[in-house]
């Protein structure tokens, strides 16, 4: 039987060729053919997406056949734009992005590991300039890496903009017509509605026939052949006791609507579609990725990070001059710094003391701090690893710690030339630390000292000291002392952690007659040649703090969360169409008909069959129709 004759016998006159094509092709392939009229609400895809209509002829990469007319300028633009927004380009760029990210993991990066870069330069003097020219040490801000992800995002935007427009229209479109034949669609089943499946029907019908002939006559007169009509809004046909077609379809529409379907009735059938959220989720996911990129890109400009080393008892103010180092974003202004004070009250480290495999391993770092915001109250907080402190629009992170020496130096004249706390930098896991004490005010000559600090000093066989434990259980400070011009007045900036000993004369240490000075807390030693004395007043802990202000962080997090939600809906919400249709039985005398159910997947939908079966089961039980075994 041809579709044509099939349609002729159909009671629904409103069916057109579209429906015929629907059934034959299994889908109305309106995408790609006519993007302006969205009849089916199919998600729009790049032309080489598997769900797009197959190319009608030639290669879909621009139909580069001989019949192709010469492309004008706009033609070329259009052509390249289509290439850029195609699936294959997106795929290629994704793979390229993965590949381009690799070098950054093989070679130290300036942002993450600046010392590593310096070391690499020393280790590979020949290779370094080549790689540096290629921006390998700044892989993730390099021209080539940026080019790849920017192209990828342009391609992405070029893909999602038309798709969003299309989806917006699809969201306001009714479900398409019911196909003429459901037989070839997924989960198709046909359930007879007659005396064999409806319990009440047989008895009622027989009873009615037996009781009065008049009733039977009425039944024939009013329209036994007109199966699709009912007694004004009744749920069952009075004559046959079967649920009326109208009622059955209405119930089906209600059921589908309740199950989240968008429902449209076409005569004796209902067409339903659900899962528009799938495409919405997909678009939200991709848009959120663009959002993440924009938030990262723009947000970085308004952010700032600063480092500050803070000894116990010291106070740090959130003003520019108070930072040891400061990295502002592009659009940073000083007014972005909200004023607050932060005092380090106490810093403690807990060490592993029982497990011999990990003796002395730090278990926890805790800094007790007092924060005073402008106009705010003083509050005492605990700052630790994994527990940053939020104050004055910034987050304060505890990233390092060490020992600082409290020393007092008296010069040859007996005056106090230096009284300060000097942070020493830890060199190993047992906190053997080094530092420099510069005393430019000492008379008659300036003094410089290179010191070693051992929290738990133990003498090695060689006579040298080493630290055996990170906690300050047996603290000892050793110093090599130099005298001469420290060069602080030369105008060349110097590091506080290093001493240029060229031009200085060592007066205590290996290269001099006097041995290095060894001090325990509270001890004082005279320096050689009457140059003065030094007192080791005590040890204090210090912390190195990172202060971050990044207004974009919340945006990035928000977009990331949105991306996850979009991803989940786009991957796990099924998009499907379901049809319920009443097909009158030819020559039926008592208004018997068949109810047909079928579905169609729009994209990945492994549960379609089950869903159709479920709809059918619920609908039939609602109608009181038994499913034949």
């Amino acid at each position: 039987m041809s579709p044509q004759s099939d349609r002729d016998t159909d009671t629904d006159a409103g069916r057109d060729t579209d429906a015929g094509r629907d059934a034959d092709a299994g889908r109305d392939a309106d995408t790609g053919r006519d993007t302006d009229t969205v009849s089916g609400g199919d998600p729009m895809r790049p032309s080489d997406h598997v769900d797009s209509a197959a190319p009608t002829g030639g290669d879909d990469a621009g139909d580069a056949g001989v019949t192709q007319p010469t492309l004008g300028f706009t033609g070329y633009v259009r052509f390249f734009w289509r290439q850029l927004t195609s699936m294959r380009t997106a795929l290629f760029l994704l793979m390229l992005l993965a590949l381009a990210a690799i070098p950054g993991s093989l070679v130290p990066q300036r942002t993450a590991d600046p010392n590593g870069v310096v070391q690499y330069k020393a280790d590979h003097p020949q290779l370094f300039p080549v790689l540096d020219t290629l921006q390998v040490f700044d892989t993730y801000t390099s021209v080539w890496f940026s080019a790849i992800y920017l192209l990828l995002f342009v391609s992405l935007i070029g893909c999602i903009v038309p798709r969003t427009r299309h989806h917006w229209q699809a969201l306001r479109t009714r479900p398409p017509r019911t196909p003429a034949r459901l037989g070839r669609l997924a989960g198709h089943r046909s359930v007879p509605v007659d005396a064999t499946t409806v319990t009440g029907a047989a008895s009622t019908a027989t009873g009615a026939n037996a009781a009065t002939g008049a009733n039977a006559a009425t039944s024939t007169a009013t329209g036994a052949p007109a199966t699709s009509t009912t007694d004004a809004g009744g749920t069952t046909d009075a004559a046959t006791g079967l649920p009326s077609v109208d009622h059955a379809i209405t119930r089906a529409a209600v059921l589908l609507k309740r199950s989240g379907y968008r429902v449209e009735r076409f005569g004796d059938s209902v067409s339903a579609e659900r899962g528009y959220l799938r495409e919405t989720g997909n678009l939200v996911f991709h848009t959120a990725l663009v959002g993440v990129l924009v938030a990262v890109g723009l947000g970085g400009g308004f952010s700032y990070t600063g480092q500050r080393l803070l000894v116990e008892g010291q106070t740090f103010s959130n003003v520019l001059g108070s930072y040891d180092s400061f990295n502002p974003g592009r659009w940073f202004t000083q007014s972005d710094l909200q004023g607050y004070n932060l005092t380090l009250d106490k810093f403690t480290t807990t060490y592993e003391e029982r497990n011999l495999d990990a003796l002395g391993q730090p278990l926890d770092y805790t800094a007790e701090v007092t924060a005073r915001e402008k106009g705010g109250q003083e509050r005492t907080e605990r700052l630790g690893v994994n527990a940053p402190l939020s104050v004055g629009g910034t987050n304060v992170y505890l990233l390092g710690n060490g020992y600082a020496m409290q020393v007092t130096v008296r010069d040859g004249d007996g005056n106090v030339a230096f009284k300060d706390v000097v942070p020493f930098l830890p060199e190993d896991s047992n906190y053997t630390s080094t530092g420099v004490i510069k005393v430019p005010d000492a008379k008659p000559s300036q003094l410089g000292m290179v010191g070693f600090f051992y929290p738990t000093a133990s003498k090695l066989g060689s006579g040298a000291f080493a630290s055996a434990y990170p906690d300050a259980q047996n603290p000892m400070l050793t110093l090599q002392v130099y005298r001469g011009d420290l060069g602080l007045d030369s105008g060349v900036p110097q590091s506080v952690y290093s001493l240029d000993t060229s031009g200085l004369e060592q007066i205590a240490g290996r290269q001099s007659k006097t041995a290095s000075i060894e001090l325990k807390p509270g001890q004082t030693q005279q320096l050689p040649d009457g140059t003065g004395s030094i007192t080791f007043d005590g040890v204090k802990r210090y912390v190195s703090l990172d202060v971050h202000h990044d207004p974009s962080q919340a945006w990035v997090a928000g977009f990331a969360a949105l991306a996850v939600l979009g991803l989940l809906t786009s991957l796990f919400v099924p998009r499907r169409r379901v049809w319920v249709k009443a097909v009158p039985r030819r020559g039926a005398e008592h208004g018997e008909y068949d109810l047909e159910y079928a579905g169609l997947a729009r994209g990945e939908d492994p549960n379609l069959e089950r869903a159709v079966a479920d709809i059918a089961r619920r609908h039939l039980s609602d109608l009181g129709v038994r499913i034949p075994a």
């Binding site: 209509a53 994704l94 993965a98 892989t139 497990n355 997947a601």
Partner: protein, 330 residues
């Protein structure tokens, strides 16, 4: 030093070795099952000529895959019970997993924290989770034919872990002291489990594609008892999809944790880079699958490249690359 800790850690190791021994039995059983399948196919072919009745499970309608008979078993119409060897293999896998989980739990009690604080513990827990996911997936689909792959992978990884990565119980460094260790790492392990399963399916898919391109292949006859290439492709996709979602979560959870611990949510640390690369590769896989001409063998290759990156990230990056994630304990 706490004696209890040492004892528990020792018991954990003993249990790990026991589990490995049972995994080996499981592996051999699964392998014998494969051999038996070859024999069955040959016998069936001799018995009735048209052995292969069409078992189309997925039809392509204008590019949209419509699955038909989803509930149909994937064991190639062998009655759903499998061979005796397969059943032994599954039983041994369950037994091995019980021992394995006991080892994980004891290690956790010994360390008094989640048992994934270093490379050894990560491998120990990770392989247990891979096996668990393999077993749980059976309730959804019959993927017992992956038993050889999964038990083999588990034995190799456990072997490497016990021989090369073993470290005594140590407390966590402060940077790891966070509930994110529980979330971030656990989700990462779970994601890895699904990626492993997906890799096994992708290999099967590639073999099936290769065989389907040839009229009659005498080699690897047991493959005829496996689902066809198209079905395997769909299964690979669905397993990897779960993995991808978990990996996305790993990435984001890691960023949140990095913000708490290191003061920045993303810093292109080596481990971050490789997590990102893996994410992009699997995103590529999902796109490839939706690209005309790429669904099937090509996307399967991408799935395998993705898994290779996962293994690389786990082994080489952890041990040899310098970065903030240097928690291997080696």
């Amino acid at each position: 030093m706490n004696d209890l800790t040492t004892n528990l850690a020792t018991y954990s190791v003993v249990l790990t070795y026991s589990a490995m021994a049972v995994y080996v039995i499981a592996f051999i059983s699964f392998a014998l099952d494969m051999a038996k399948r070859s024999g069955e196919v040959t016998a069936a072919a001799a018995g009735r000529a048209p052995a292969a009745e069409p078992r189309t499970v997925a039809t392509v309608q204008g590019g949209t895959v419509v699955l038909e008979r989803v509930d149909e078993t994937t064991d190639g119409g062998r009655g759903g019970r499998g061979t005796k060897f397969e059943r032994v293999g599954m039983a041994m896998t369950v037994l091995a997993l019980i021992l394995h989980v006991a080892a994980v739990v004891l290690r956790g009690i010994a360390a008094d924290r989640v048992p994934w604080g270093n490379m050894f513990e990560f491998s120990l827990t990770g392989t247990a989770l891979i096996t668990l996911i393999f077993l749980l997936v059976q309730f959804w689909q019959n993927l017992k034919f992956l038993g050889v792959f999964i038990s083999g992978l588990t034995i190799i990884l456990l072997g490497i872990a016990t021989v090369n990565y073993y470290v005594p119980v140590r407390p966590l460094v402060p940077a790891l002291e966070s509930y994110w260790l529980v979330i971030h790492v656990f989700v990462a392990i779970a994601g890895t489990g699904f990626f492993a399963l997906g890799a096994g399916l992708a290999v099967a898919q590639l073999v099936q594609t290769y065989r389907q391109g040839r009229p009659v292949s005498k080699q690897l006859r047991f493959m005829e008892t496996l689902p066809d290439a198209e079905r395997l492709e769909v299964l690979t996709y669905r397993v990897l999809l779960v993995g991808f979602v978990l990996w996305t979560f790993t990435l984001i959870a890691g960023a949140i944790w990095a913000e708490r611990a290191w003061g920045r949510y993303w810093g292109w640390d080596t481990k971050e880079v490789w997590t990102f690369i893996i994410w992009v590769l699997y995103a590529g896989y999902i796109h490839a699958r939706a690209t005309r001409g790429w669904r099937g063998a090509r996307s399967s290759w991408l799935a395998l490249i993705g898994f290779a990156a996962v293994m690389f990230n786990f082994s080489v990056v952890n041990v040899f690359f310098k970065g903030l994630h240097s928690y291997s304990g080696l």
